[in-house]
């Protein structure tokens, strides 16, 4: 199992606080309860009640860690206020980004945290069915989570009568697999319904019409993992952590030339600190930082003071996304990198909407043309126009954000792209844009 990176001592450990206590056996419920597991659920049921719990979460300012950053309290309130006989809470632990294992590592290191968060969310929204969706390829993790859910049910934390409150919360572990798009909430709901995984138009949001048409709260596992801490320590304590408009901590998968790993960082930490945490810049200088996984943006060194949080990252041309921060040094070529990212996004497009299915493919082809030395003089303009159109007409965040690789590349590394197009040379020496010269020869 990937270990967590040691972070500075003054950084709070909201999500990974109990990992040390459970190091010997994460499946040990007694050790977990001694360390405070299900204490938050007890407080929520005994002291706060459903509306009080929602108010606490809303006051803490917790925002969705799945990437979009929707306020969790509002989401719960929207689902709870819908009149319905059946509501659902779904924890999205799919972790679609191939380079990121934060969700799986968190679930494996402390399965009780997310189960407790699910139980609190279900209690607060009045849902009796809670579903934890995880990757099916990690069979050991699925077994461990199923065992944990069973043990928690036997101990009375889940099941027909949660902590003698009369409330029923059934947690089901659902292994899902087979597509990148399962990270998107409506796609995940489609998979749980047994349908083809294509996103739905929003609104209606899943909080109105979600799983099987019932109000559904879909939260990332990291969002739910923060919930017990907030209920236990109070919303003011949580709101004090990290950035002002989006408090809290988030798990980040760092990757650099000198190393990497998973770290829990407060939101609002400057990117520079994350780069240092990833092992620094190594022998060479930092050329770009890829923030947000395959659909992320490429930020130059002079943007390293950007705080790692929703708004400023989007303004800078990247996004939190999967929580991936990859440091690229001088050996990387921006065109080559953006081409690869766009290609992956295009390959993983579900095919529902045309801008995504065809637009991303064309974006990749333009990038490929530039990288292999067959660019047209208009390619730079075409790239910008097409990326703008795809982002403007997108249905889900996948296609809107998949253009970021090229748009941020055009924004910050225009001279390097121009070198490819106009001078047919690759400054990094990665691409071989020599076909123009060869074309002139014959």
């Amino acid at each position: 199992m990937t270990a967590f990176l040691t972070t500075p001592r003054d950084w709070p450990a909201v999500l990974t606080g109990r990992v040390a206590a459970l190091r010997k056996d994460p499946g040990d419920l007694d050790a977990a309860t001694r360390a405070g597991a299900f204490e938050g659920l007890r407080i929520a049921i005994r002291d706060l009640g459903p509306t009080g719990t929602i108010a606490t979460i809303a006051a803490s300012g917790l925002r969705g860690r799945g990437g979009a950053g929707f306020p969790t309290g509002d989401k719960w309130r929207a689902a709870a206020s819908q009149p319905a006989g059946q509501r659902y809470v779904v924890a999205n632990g799919y972790g679609a980004d191939p380079g990121v294992r934060t969700d799986a590592v968190l679930l494996a290191a402390d399965p009780w945290l997310v189960l407790e968060g699910l139980a609190i969310a279900a209690f607060a929204t009045g849902a009796t069915e809670a579903i934890l969706a995880v990757r099916a390829d990690d069979q050991a993790l699925v077994t461990r989570l199923e065992g944990a859910a069973l043990a928690a049910e036997e101990a009375g934390f889940l099941g027909d009568n949660v902590l003698n409150s009369g409330q029923r919360v059934t947690v089901t572990i659902r292994p899902v697999q087979g597509a990148f798009m399962l990270g998107e909430e409506t796609v995940l709901l489609k998979a749980l319904e047994g349908k083809r995984g294509q996103p739905e138009q929003k609104p209606p949001y899943p909080t109105e019409k979600g799983l099987f048409g019932r109000p559904t709260v879909v939260n990332n596992v990291q969002t739910l993992a923060a919930v017990p801490w907030i209920v236990r320590q109070g919303s003011a304590a949580y709101a004090a952590i990290g950035a002002e408009d989006s408090p809290g901590t988030v798990l980040v998968q760092l990757r650099g030339p000198a190393g990497g790993g998973i770290a829990e960082v407060p939101l609002g930490t400057p990117l520079r600190k994350l780069v240092d945490l990833a092992g620094g810049k190594g022998k060479q200088t930092v050329k770009a930082v890829l923030v947000g996984g395959p659909t992320g943006g490429l930020l130059p060194p002079d943007q390293l003071d950007t705080p790692y949080t929703y708004g400023p990252l989007r303004e800078a041309g990247a996004h939190m996304g999967s929580g991936s921060v990859v440091v690229a040094d001088e050996r990387a070529c921006i065109v080559d990198l953006a081409r690869l990212l766009t290609r992956f996004s295009a390959d993983e497009a579900c095919g529902k909407t045309i801008p995504c299915r065809i637009g991303l493919r064309r974006l990749y082809e333009i990038g490929d043309r530039i990288a292999t030395g067959r660019p047209k003089p208009t390619d730079a303009v075409l790239l910008g126009d097409l990326a703008h159109d795809v982002a403007a007409s997108g249905l889900c965040d996948h296609e809107r954000l998949a253009t970021l690789a090229f748009t941020s590349g055009m924004r910050y590394f225009r001279s390097e792209i121009d070198d490819h197009i106009l001078r047919s040379s690759c400054p990094a020496g990665v691409c071989q844009p020599i076909a123009v010269a060869a074309g002139a020869a014959h």
């Binding site: 191939p98 998979a191 083809r196 099987f212 690229a328 390959d347």
Partner: protein, 221 residues
């Protein structure tokens, strides 16, 4: 080859000039019959309509009239009840046409239809029973069906559609979307179901490493 250059041209033009003044040769067909062999009855040809299917109605009139009995054919009678046949077994390519085969009551070897191999549905019925014939558990049903049969036979999808009442198109849509579901037997026996998606993910990781120039250090980790 003539010795004098241009002689061929002169000869050709001479022939033209001779024909120019000769009387016209016009055969007034059909009043005046053309000079053909006494056994010739015209060229045998099956005609196609504008949709590309054979126009032949299998009425046997041509086969009955054929003086040298070179026509043989088969098909279904006009009420669609009996298989009728005339002549030795069909040997010509155009009689193996899809429409000709269907008319002659034979199986049509079509790739899309050939997959409808009958399957033993005992195991599938057990799976469906376990899930209460509930189409909402379709993904799980498909996964278990694949675990049982090794892949998703079209017969199994048809069976699920018929038993649960779900549209075949929806089942097919689900089955073709997820990478771990496959509609053909695996090429390599031991290949596990989730392999396809994991291969793509690891390909992305190594491509990203290559693009970043991590190469050697990354593979060591």
């Amino acid at each position: 080859m003539s010795i004098v250059p241009g002689m061929g041209m002169v000869r050709g033009m001479g022939f033209t000039l001779k024909r120019f003044f000769a009387p016209k040769a016009t055969v007034r067909w059909p009043e005046q019959p053309a000079d053909v062999a006494p056994k010739f009855r015209g060229r045998l040809q099956l005609l196609y309509d504008e949709y590309g299917t054979l126009k032949c109605e299998t009425c046997f009139q041509c086969a009955q009239a054929c003086p040298i009995e070179c026509i043989d054919m088969g098909g279904i009678d006009t009420k669609g009840r009996f298989h009728v046949h005339w002549g030795p077994p069909e040997t010509y390519g155009e009689r193996r046409e899809e429409s000709a085969l269907r008319r002659s009551g034979r199986t049509v070897p079509d790739a899309a239809f050939a997959r409808f191999d009958p399957i033993d549905t005992t195991a599938l019925d057990e799976i469906l029973d376990r899930h209460d014939y509930d189409p909402r558990a379709l993904l799980t049903i498909l996964e278990e069906t694949q675990a049982e049969y090794g892949y998703l036979p079209v017969g199994a999808l048809k069976h699920i559609s018929r038993i649960t009442g779900t549209w075949y198109a929806m089942i097919y849509g689900t089955a073709t979307y997820y990478r771990h579901l496959r509609l053909e037997p695996p090429v390599i026996e031991a290949e596990s179901a989730g392999e396809a998606h994991l291969a793509i993910e690891s390909a992305y990781r190594s491509a990203l490493d290559a693009s970043l120039g991590y190469g050697a250090e990354a593979s060591a980790r």
